[in-house]
């Protein structure tokens, strides 16, 4: 176990370094830059601009810039936002909870719905429900999330007026319902693709298990079908789902970005887009690192949890 953890952590760190190199390269090699915002200041001369660029270290060779950024990162200094001069970690930390809330709600919704649909589909294989839910999942995977979000806003906020159009809460309304009310539409939109993924995986995992001998054994014991499905089939079928949860994290995070854009959700994805617009490199890099970190932690957690709940797996 300890050896597994150490080697996994080492691998993850290596990955993080690679991630940072790729991210840094992509950002800094591209045209445009943070100087655009300074250039528009009245009375700013080219000489002053050069001074600012120098002060920000932007005039140094790229590898050196990377090294300076990275060595500071190692001692926990993620830098300051070019835009509002706040520490990058504080800027991200202020936005992360909103994203996690959205992702959490969506994943809860997706797992609940997806697992139910997948289980029912597998249990009633080839029934009308199964065929429809399988085709439906495929279509759900194909709908552009942003478009679905727009249509949702149009129908439920503009036309019907049932749900608020974006934002995380109405200012001044701190009630739980206020938050939930705002969360419904974006969480559903973000969950749509995940429901499809989860129901497809769940169904096929169930089918992998449902024909196995031990299920017949359980039936032979005279257990009610419900218990056979839930206690015996599902308990085995959801083990690979834990790994899936880890693997789905990047997709979910990406989906959260899209959803946040459409629903003006004050999360990390929105911050990412805004910061890209300003070429706020430290913040953009910070978000890339945080999301990579989340992804790595997610997959590590998935492995660990998988090992804990599956008696057959030993980590060493």
């Amino acid at each position: 176990m300890a050896r597994f953890l150490v080697s996994r952590l080492a691998q993850s760190l290596l990955l993080l370094v690679l991630v940072s190199v790729i991210g840094f390269g992509v950002l800094h090699l591209a045209p445009g830059g943070p100087m655009a915002q300074f250039a528009l200041v009245p009375g700013m001369s080219q000489a002053q601009l050069a001074e600012i660029a120098h002060a920000m270290g932007l005039d140094q060779p790229l590898p050196l810039q990377y090294w300076q950024w990275f060595s500071r990162l190692l001692v926990g200094d993620w830098g300051h936002s070019y835009r509002d001069a706040q520490p990058v970690l504080a800027v991200i930390a202020a936005r992360l909870p909103a994203t996690l809330e959205l992702m959490g709600a969506a994943i809860a919704l997706a797992v609940l719905t997806g697992v139910t649909v997948g289980v029912l589909g597998a249990v009633r294989r080839d029934s009308a429900f199964d065929v429809l839910s399988t085709a439906g999942a495929m279509v759900a995977l194909s709908i552009p999330t942003f478009w679905f979000g727009l249509v949702t806003i149009y129908v439920f906020s503009v036309k019907l007026g049932w749900l608020p159009a974006g934002s995380r809460a109405t200012v001044g309304d701190a009630s739980l319902w206020g938050y939930v009310h705002h969360l419904i539409a974006p969480a559903c939109v973000l969950a749509l693709v995940e429901v499809a993924v989860w129901s497809r995986y769940m169904r096929s995992a169930m089918l992998d298990v449902i024909d196995q001998d031990f299920v017949r054994t359980a039936r032979a014991k005279g257990l009610p079908e419900r218990r056979v499905v839930l206690h015996h089939v599902l308990r085995n079928a959801w083990l690979p789902m834990i790994t899936l949860a880890g693997l789905e994290l990047p997709t979910l995070l990406g989906g959260a970005l899209v959803t946040e854009t459409v629903f003006t959700w004050p999360g990390m994805g929105r911050l990412f887009l805004d910061s890209l617009g300003y070429r706020d490199y430290p913040v953009v890099m910070g978000i890339l690192m945080v999301s990579a970190l989340l992804v790595l932690i997610g997959s590590l957690m998935a492995d660990l949890v998988g090992a804990v709940v599956d008696p057959r797996v030993r980590l060493d």
């Binding site: 790729i22 992509v26 478009w147 149009y154 990047p250 995070l253």
Partner: protein, 302 residues
């Protein structure tokens, strides 16, 4: 040993299993694909879409770029413009079809590119193994660590958008899965005897890679490629929707949505038609990919 003369009841298992009988495998991948009704429908839809996008505009008496500002926002299914007109009075149908050309072209081109790159990297990583393989696969992992949308936007924010650059950045964020699939496939294939046989017969590494391994990994690659087209179309739509993609006046399904967003209330068809086209196109490719997966018996999940 006791089983030697009389094998245990495998056929019972086959009968009890409600899956399509394995015995029918011999009737071929094509047969299995055709049994997949949704996949066939998807294929038909793709064929229809290609036909419509490339031939349709020739039959419609409107130019996709001709602005007729006095007839903007004409509703669909009434008057000479079948699908209505857009915010500049251009015929929406012909724009949808021309946009289809762009979106599908990007989809296919990005697929070809990312499949080629992914296959090459997967091949080398899987065949060479060792340090090179590990290094390549760690790079794949690292790129996979970014939610692909983040990477896509980071790249899109910097390029001068046109069909070629958009294709390039979509391919740049879509080759990793193919690489993984190919690498995994190659590793299992490599463990099999025929690779060894080929090597013993003095075949070069390149020959083994291309002629033996690649040929045998072609099923999963095809499936992955099909699903990549679907992803590429979605990616193009999103980038263009945010305004970083295909630029006006050229239409793509994504940038048609970009312009339509604010007219959802007053001219909803401007957003609905392109959105439906994207959904239908992507779903078709997904269905075909799903059918191919079954037909080629390739377990690929993208």
């Amino acid at each position: 040993m006791t089983d030697a003369p009389l094998a245990p009841p495998r056929r019972l298992a086959a009968l009890l299993s409600r899956r399509p009988a394995a015995g029918r495998a011999r009737s071929g991948a094509l047969h299995r694909f055709l049994r997949h009704r949704l996949a066939v429908a998807g294929l038909a839809a793709i064929a229809l879409m290609l036909l419509a996008c490339w031939l349709g505009p020739l039959l419609i008496p409107y130019d996709q770029l001709f602005i007729d500002i006095r007839h903007r926002f004409a509703g669909p299914f009434a008057g000479p413009h079948v699908f209505g007109t857009d915010q500049l009075g251009r015929d929406l149908l012909v724009r949808l079809l021309m946009a289809g050309r762009i979106s599908l072209t990007i989809g296919f081109a990005a697929m070809a590119l990312s499949t080629a790159v992914g296959t090459a990297i997967g091949l080398v990583a899987g065949y060479r193994g060792g340090l090179v393989g590990a290094a390549l696969m760690r790079c794949v992992d690292a790129v996979l660590c970014f939610p692909s949308v983040f990477l896509l936007l980071a790249l899109a924010a910097f390029i001068r958008p046109n069909v070629v650059t958009i294709t390039l950045i979509i391919a740049a964020t879509g080759w990793m899965e193919v690489a993984r699939v190919v690498q995994g496939q190659i590793r299992t294939l490599k463990a099999r005897d025929f690779t060894l046989a080929a090597e013993l017969m003095g075949a070069s590494g390149f020959y083994v890679m291309t002629n033996e391994l690649l040929r045998n990994a072609v099923g999963p690659i095809i499936v992955a490629a099909t699903l990549t087209v679907a992803r590429a179309i979605l990616a193009e739509a999103y980038v263009s929707f945010l305004g970083y993609g295909i630029q006006a006046p050229v239409a793509s399904w994504g940038n048609m949505l970009n312009n339509a967003q604010q007219y959802l209330g007053s001219a909803p068809w401007l957003a609905i038609f392109p959105g439906l086209m994207i959904t239908v196109a992507v779903a078709s490719f997904n269905f075909v990919g799903d059918g191919l997966r079954d037909a080629l018996d390739a377990r690929v999940e993208l």
